[in-house]
Amino acid sequence: MTAQQKATLQKLGPFIALLVVSGALAIMSPDFLTVGNLMNVMRQVSINALIAFGMTLVILLGGIDLSVGSILALSSVCIALMIQSGLDPVLATLLGIAAGAGMGFANGWIISKGKVAPFIATLASMTILRGLSLVFSGGSPITGLDSDFFQMLGGGYVAGLVPVPVVWMLLMFAGFWFLLKQTVFGRHVYATGGNEEASRLSGVKVDRIKIWVYTVSGAMSAMAGVVLTSRLNSAQPTAGTGYELDAIAAVVLGGTSLTGGRGWIFGTLMGALLIGVLNNGLNLLGVSSFYQQVIKGAVILLAVLLDRAGKK
């Protein structure tokens, strides 16, 4: 096997893992491999995948965004309040996503201009934004969002088969693929993550790249918030707690390096699907939710260890 073939195999690792796990579940549970169930899995995965796409950019830069769950919650609360107050739902949704982008922008600004470590900056904003969503919502869920448009965003189907959030996910996947592979911006993200100093000296506007990346991450979290709020038909101030960990897990499972500069969006999609398929399969098999956590953690560890071994 040549080095090139080995590298390709290595890169496809997450995909192969997904096939193996899906195959095993298909054998163990007859309900797994049905169109209905698979669409269901995809829909469940979509929220994590949307967040993880943004997180991929952040991690490619060598950063981390812990505030995604709080951004999700606060933008949901904002959207729900706007719809409740009679604002046009389309406009409210767009404003909500813009608000998420704004929160991400603030993260990026503090990290690049204030030179605060991403972990600390987003840990702080995670707490602040969570607090704000409790403040704005008065601590309780906001319900009664009777808008057909808004309910369609998370609960609708395209052609009566494909859930709308899955369409979002696939569109965003294509967009991120293009962004990372084909654009100057994408190249600059990899370069900055690989060697910030050399990139700056090569004229890459490193600060600007960072701000944009966190802004995108914020917008993606808000978009996930739209899907979740629409599905539940209510905005929960405590929604999205712990989502940052699922997103990071998806990115890492996908083979993106936590030190930055290396990784790809396809891996992240596979990582998110792998986590989703595991959740779904273990439910179908009736494994207790306590054991589910143990198994999920072990699979993540195993995948990363295999990845390491393959690189040697």
Partner: protein
């Protein structure tokens, strides 16, 4: 003592790097190992020091086979190495780096006082008394880091000392101290392998010379019986012609004008002009502030005083991006940390600066990019199997050419060069000099910092000399001697030697 490596073969994947190489080393000799970039010198030495395992072949010390599987084994056999690439941990202090893995301790508690004292003594012995042992290694200049690496290897008290381009970032004074130390070790019977692309040094300090070409051993010579031309012919397999190709360009209008430039820390009141088609050399000792001038011009360091004009218009010194937009290019001295994104491919590095030229509305035209890179690879003769290879896998000299490629994708107005041929072989140097001459002929103003005096003297029209951040002379390069430069660089010139050429 005698160390022999026999029939060493090594391949990385499909690439055969060493083929059946024999190399013999005796106690008390300084043995030069020469070869073009990528010839396999570093790989051979990494095998001797346990970093790599050979695919076949053996190492014998005094006729007995020894197995060197790890760097620990090598240390146990008395083999120490100063690697070509700097390996200090930037966040640790100088002394912590010096004693990494063998900290003086009692019951597991580090004896900091003892450590400080020994570190101080080791650096002083190298004449590096200006290096603070408590300073973070990352805050030192490249030359100073190199001194720390040397001190680290010397502290091992080795019987075999491998020095892989130890002087690449040092200036004349440090090199003299280093050579004196090497002679001392030689007298004590230590065997030294000396890898360098600086011909003057080889002929000055070495007794013997072994040459590798494309991974094969091509010969051993006693220094006294050979000369520059023969060595080059062994290395390259052909004659390379002039070492310093001549340039027939009459400098034109002033492009870069600098008046009273200071950064408040390293440089003070620097003034010079560089004309179209001119190469302005900057010489000085390590730490004199040579690189700092370039960094300030390029917007990396803040300027605290002074004015800079480019083609008669004030130059924006706020950021590298602004400098690049104005038409400046900057080949930095440390390609590992400042020049290249290791982990990215040759192609991605080569187009990093001017990626916009192959893009429309921010979308890269892959075909145009690949074509441009392919052209640059052949034009600069970058030796790589494939533009998609990680730039890390290229030899040092070829990495340097990738740095050039990145800046020359669009011809700059002013080219700042900081040690442009550091670690580049004779052939590669000549090629880089050709590139410099071509750019000069095209009207680029070139400002070049170099520690290699023969290079500055041969390539420059005029030479600015610094001493502790101030300029002590601005010479016309014609009819200049090394002594003139050294006198100005050490601040011992009795009179103001500044020439008034313009």
């Amino acid at each position: 003592m005698k160390v022999s490596m026999r029939g060493i073969c090594k391949a990385f994947g499909p690439v055969r790097v060493l083929e059946n190489v024999d190399f013999t080393l005796h106690g008390g000799e300084i043995h030069a190992l020469m070869g073009e970039n990528g010839a396999g010198k570093s790989t051979l030495m990494k095998i001797l020091s346990g970093v790599y395992q050979p695919d076949s072949g053996s190492v014998e010390v005094d006729g007995k086979a020894v197995a060197i599987r790890t760097t620990r084994d090598a240390e146990a056999a008395g083999i120490a190495i100063i690697h070509q690439e700097l390996n200090l941990i930037p966040q640790l202090s100088v002394m912590e780096n010096l004693f990494l893995g063998r900290e003086p301790s009692r019951f597991g508690v580090i004896q900091r006082a003892a450590m400080r004292q020994q570190a101080r003594a080791q650096l002083d012995a190298l004449g590096a008394s200006q290096i603070d042992v408590e300073a973070e290694a990352g805050s030192l200049s490249i030359g100073q880091q190199q001194m720390v690496e040397i001190a680290k290897a010397l502290a091992m008290d080795a019987r075999v000392l491998i020095m892989d381009e130890p002087t690449a970032a040092l200036s004349a004074r440090e090199i003299d101290t280093l050579f004196a130390l090497m002679r001392g070790l030689q007298a004590r019977g230590v065997a030294i392998v000396y890898v360098s692309h600086r011909m003057e040094e080889i002929f000055h300090i070495c007794d013997k010379i072994s040459v590798l070409r494309d991974g094969c051993f091509v010969g051993e010579r006693v220094i006294a019986d050979t000369g520059f031309d023969e060595v080059v012919k062994l290395m390259v397999g052909r004659e390379i012609g002039d070492r310093f190709p001549g340039r027939d360009v009459v400098p034109g209008a002033v492009r870069l004008a600098v008046r009273g430039l200071s950064d408040g820390r390293h440089i003070d009141g620097i003034s010079f002009e560089a004309r179209a088609g001119e190469v302005l050399g900057i010489a000085g000792l390590m730490g004199a502030g040579r690189s700092e001038i370039l960094k300030t011009l390029f917007g990396v360091n803040r300027r605290t005083a002074g004015e800079v004009w480019l083609d008669g218009a004030p130059l924006d010194l706020r950021s590298p991006a602004a400098a690049i937009a104005a038409g400046l290019a900057f080949v930095t001295e440390d390609r590992k940390s400042q020049g290249l994104v290791l982990g990215m491919s040759v192609r991605e590095n080569a187009t990093l600066v001017h990626l916009d030229s192959y893009a429309r509305l921010g979308v890269v035209n892959g075909a145009a990019e690949q074509a441009a890179v392919a052209q640059q690879i052949s034009q600069l003769r970058i030796r790589t199997r494939d533009a998609e290879l990680d730039v890390k896998s290229l030899s040092g000299g070829n990495q340097q050419k990738v740095v050039f490629a990145k800046w020359l994708a669009k011809p700059p107005k002013v080219l700042l060069l900081d040690e442009p041929t550091r670690g580049v072989d004779v052939g590669g140097k000549a090629e880089i000099y050709h590139i410099i001459n071509q750019l000069a002929a095209a009207g680029v103003a070139i400002v070049m910092v170099s520690s290699e005096l023969p290079e500055v003297m041969a390539m420059s029209n005029r030479i600015l000399v610094l001493h502790e951040g101030r300029q002590t002379a601005l010479f016309d390069a014609a009819n200049l001697s090394q002594e003139d430069i050294m006198a100005a660089a050490t601040g011992t010139a009795g009179h103001d030697t500044r020439t008034t050429q313009d």
